[in-house]
Amino acid sequence: MDQAHQRAIAVIAHIDHGKSTLSDRLLQLTGTVSDRDMREQFLDRMDLERERGITIKAAAVRMAYRAADGDTYQINLIDTPGHVDFNYEVSRSLAACDGVLLLVDAAQGIEAQTLTNLYLALDAGLEIIPVLNKIDLPAAQPDKYADEIASLLGCARDDIHRISAKTGEGVPALLEVIVEKIPPPSGNVNAPLRALVFDSVYDAYRGVIAYVRVVDGALSAREPIRFMATAFEGEADEIGIMAPEARPVKRLETGEVGYVIAGVKEVGLAKVGDTVTHAGREGASEALHGYREPKPMVFAGIYPINGDDFPLLRDALDKLKLNDAALVYEPESSGALGFGFRCGFLGLLHMEIVRERLEREFDLELIATAPSVGYELEMTDGVKKLIRNPTDMPDRSKINDISEPYVSVMIVTPSEYVGTIMGLCQERRGELKEMHYLSPERVELRYHVPLGEIIFDFFDQLKSRTKGYASLDYEPVGMFSSELVRVDVLLNGQPVDAFSTIVHRDKSYDYGKKMTDRLRKLIPRQMFDVPIQAAIGSRIIARETVRAKRKDVTAKCYGGDITRKRKLIEKQKEGKKRMKQIGTVEVPQTAFIEALKIDTDVKEPG
């Protein structure tokens, strides 16, 4: 189809603001999906997404829309991931669009995540169509939130469209607005092929399916192609569009959105942001701008609870990697936890998703260490070092300087919580960068905070201190020097590697106290007193003691029933086998698991 009749859009929205429902309504109104086939939230494919109510992987759907002017337009709806961890992927999805729908819940107003993505879209120079959704709700305050959006975008209140994706009210008019306001693509039909990969998914039967927007030139089936960043070359076995099921086509023209299958075995060879061109001399010489290697930000050790499952865990990670270019992992061993992997993730949600998939899809029982960030060390001899596991940190005397990653945190909150949030950010070593009143009642705060402070229950704290009203988003801003120390935890003088962590010097005491106190409650009493210490180097900063147990013996044996007594002892022996031995201390595996759940409380033993 000619470029003048193409529109490519994405929807920017906060979780639960109705993105999926609006997508469904658009599919229905354009007849892309028949009413009969309509199931809720058509575009969210994986179970996991459905359960969490979020979208992890973008998908693109082509719709044919017959507009009021009598022409038929091709509208490509590109879905965007809705979470901070996938910020880069969002930016690539937006790069594949010509405009966005800014979808805001008329009962809640704009949230932090939406703001971040809106700024991304504005930076990319995209046309923004503001839409207030859920106007059918009794709690909707469309005028109030329209004003908020109007002041953000510098437009009039009346420029903001009001719809109910649920009832369909206002959606047909919105389709007209899309055709009217979103500019057609402006690619060069005659230039060498350049197609932007905005998503790639691994399929067990077909290999990698790369979702692309053809920016310049055109791509035909069976043509040899090249992924410019990875230099992977293959033949476009199949190209097609999603409408919404995959439908092979012969050719993708300039401006069109579709998919390419080219015998790629893992998504790491067809990464988001890469440029597809023709292989050989016809290929483009310059890739599209904006490609970036996925960069893990959060690290954690993942260990099988049953040590025999280590090879299974390796296989499972290898399989996940096929479909997750951002996942990195390398084997490591821990005195406390055995053999496992140090894994790198885009963020906490990414970590949770990977862990959940490992447990669910591969039936593994796992234990994860507390998440940490990556640190940059400058050694006294000038050598730079990157560490991802606190136990790798060398002696402080050999280190000149330590840097840690900072993020720019955006928080949108009702104004009455500003003080509370400032307190929280202060505790987390944050620095206020900007404060902006969206309206008299709502404030946008921007802080620079070390990522290491965010990954411990920051989000939970924010939610609980603002009764759930504040929303959060963040993006990396670089590495900055900090006064960081490694705190070790020792049981009976033996360091337990799984509990070592790197924290700011000012917080080391709190961490040490918290961890020793937790462990005191979790470690069963032994035959002797077990000192639990937290230490920085050789300096002890906190100490607790698990007092020796005094009595563990059966009082009597009834009527010569030795069998029962023996079975009790055998049970006790079995229990001992499941203990991990740290020096002379026996620690049940459950104690490690509980101790590492830093953000839940541990009860005093009964």
Binding site: M527, R550, D552, T554, R566, I569, K573, G575
Partner: protein
């Protein structure tokens, strides 16, 4: 032979050849205590006669050759709920079918409230020469909380009366560490019993057994948790007080004047052989453990029908037998004789010797005079130590 064994048993020392025992179970009680998980029942008075007959028939029908018994033990329940002549008939059946050594220890358990002055003479006439009296406590409040119906006076009188009647061997049972008991309460009980001067004292830590009413009371918070540290304190005071009064601890929960250890008890802890008769009674014959039908009514019916009363049995494998020998033997103060143990279970201890040495280094066990035993510190951690060793 049996004479030598019988005499050795009285020292409370672990023996490679501990003799031969017979246990008779009487599964009846007037009131069932809320902490009790023994096989015993209230309100089955109408079954008493039939039960005695059934036990006698069961004894008569026992098959195979067996040595003379060096110890006989009538336990319960409350054996003294039955009239002494009835118990005597059962004992006679044992003499006839099994044989009882002339110097055998023949014990009957008694609850103070069930034995009148005259009963002791009757029990002696029936052939018993040792009586074990369930004192439990000498503090009314503690007795009431334990659900015992006798008074301290009745309990102490029972000891006095038993002696007056001429019982050569008297034992008193105590329970400590219940949540209702203060340190003074426990001292009162210990001192009172010591004053009554029995030959043997058992002191058991109150244990919350699964499935008992007490377990439910604790689980629902109506009775406080039992604190093992408190029990350890009570145990320590028992040790010092009883030792000062001339009682030697020969097993974790048992003290006796020199030469007055319970032979039957020592037989259990030495891995000896014994027959068990009556509902739910356990027996052990060279590595085969068996137990009889549990419910009194079913037991009686089985005997009447001429059926086997054995409800289940297990043949204990070599490894498990060694484990039993060790776990039982270490409960005795004298511990196990390493040489005899190794002859009986070749290689078992040798393979665990490094663990034994570690435990010895930690002060939990001692090896001396060719014997392995729990140290004074190790006694109260016996289960943990045995689980490491066995």
């Amino acid at each position: 032979m049996t004479v030598a064994v019988a005499a050795a048993g009285r020292t409370g020392t672990w023996m490679p050849e501990p003799g031969f025992g017979v246990y008779v179970h009487i599964p009846f009680c007037k009131h069932r205590c809320h902490y009790c998980d023994f096989n015993t029942y209230e309100g089955l008075d109408s079954l008493h006669d039939a039960y005695v007959d059934a036990v006698i028939d069961d004894i008569r029908r026992a098959e195979g050759d067996m040595p003379e018994a060096t110890s006989v033990f009538f336990g319960g329940g409350t054996p003294t709920l039955l009239p002494p002549p009835a118990l005597g008939r059962i004992l006679d059946a044992i003499r006839t079918r099994v044989g009882v050594a002339s110097d055998a220890e023949i014990t009957v358990e008694a609850n103070p409230e069930t034995v009148a002055e005259s009963s002791f003479t009757g029990l002696l006439e029936a052939g018993f020469n040792r009586i074990s009296i369930g004192i439990q406590s000498l503090v009314p409040r503690v007795l009431a909380a334990l659900g015992r119906t006798h008074s301290p006076e009745v309990a102490l009188n029972a000891i006095v009366a038993a002696r007056r009647a001429g019982f050569p061997d008297i034992s008193g049972d105590l329970i400590f560490g219940s949540p209702w008991e203060t340190p003074d309460d426990w001292r009162t009980s210990l001192e009172g019993v010591v004053d009554a001067a029995p030959d043997h004292i058992s002191a058991y830590a109150l244990t919350v057994e699964e499935g008992t009413p007490l377990a439910t009371l604790v689980a629902t918070g109506r009775v406080p948790h039992i604190d093992p540290d408190v029990q350890a304190e009570r145990y320590a005071s028992a040790c010092s007080l009883l030792s000062a009064a001339g009682y030697e601890r020969y097993e974790i929960s048992n003290w006796a004047r020199p030469g007055r250890a319970s032979r039957h008890n020592v037989l259990y802890w030495s891995g000896g052989d014994y027959l068990g008769f009556g509902a739910g009674a356990h027996g052990h014959l060279s590595g085969r453990r068996s137990w009889r039908i549990r419910l009194p009514r079913d037991y009686i019916a089985a005997v009447r029908a001429g059926c086997d009363t054995v409800a289940g049995a297990e043949t204990v494998g070599a490894e498990a037998r060694a484990c039993e020998t060790l776990l039982c033997g270490l409960r005795l103060t004298s511990g196990v004789d390493v040489g005899s143990f190794e002859r009986r279970h070749p290689g078992y201890l040798a393979g665990r010797w490094s663990v034994a040495e570690e435990l010895a280094a930690a002060g939990m066990v001692e090896v001396s005079g060719g014997r392995l035993r729990l140290s004074e510190r190790g006694v109260l951690l016996g289960d943990d130590i045995i689980a490491r060793l066995a």
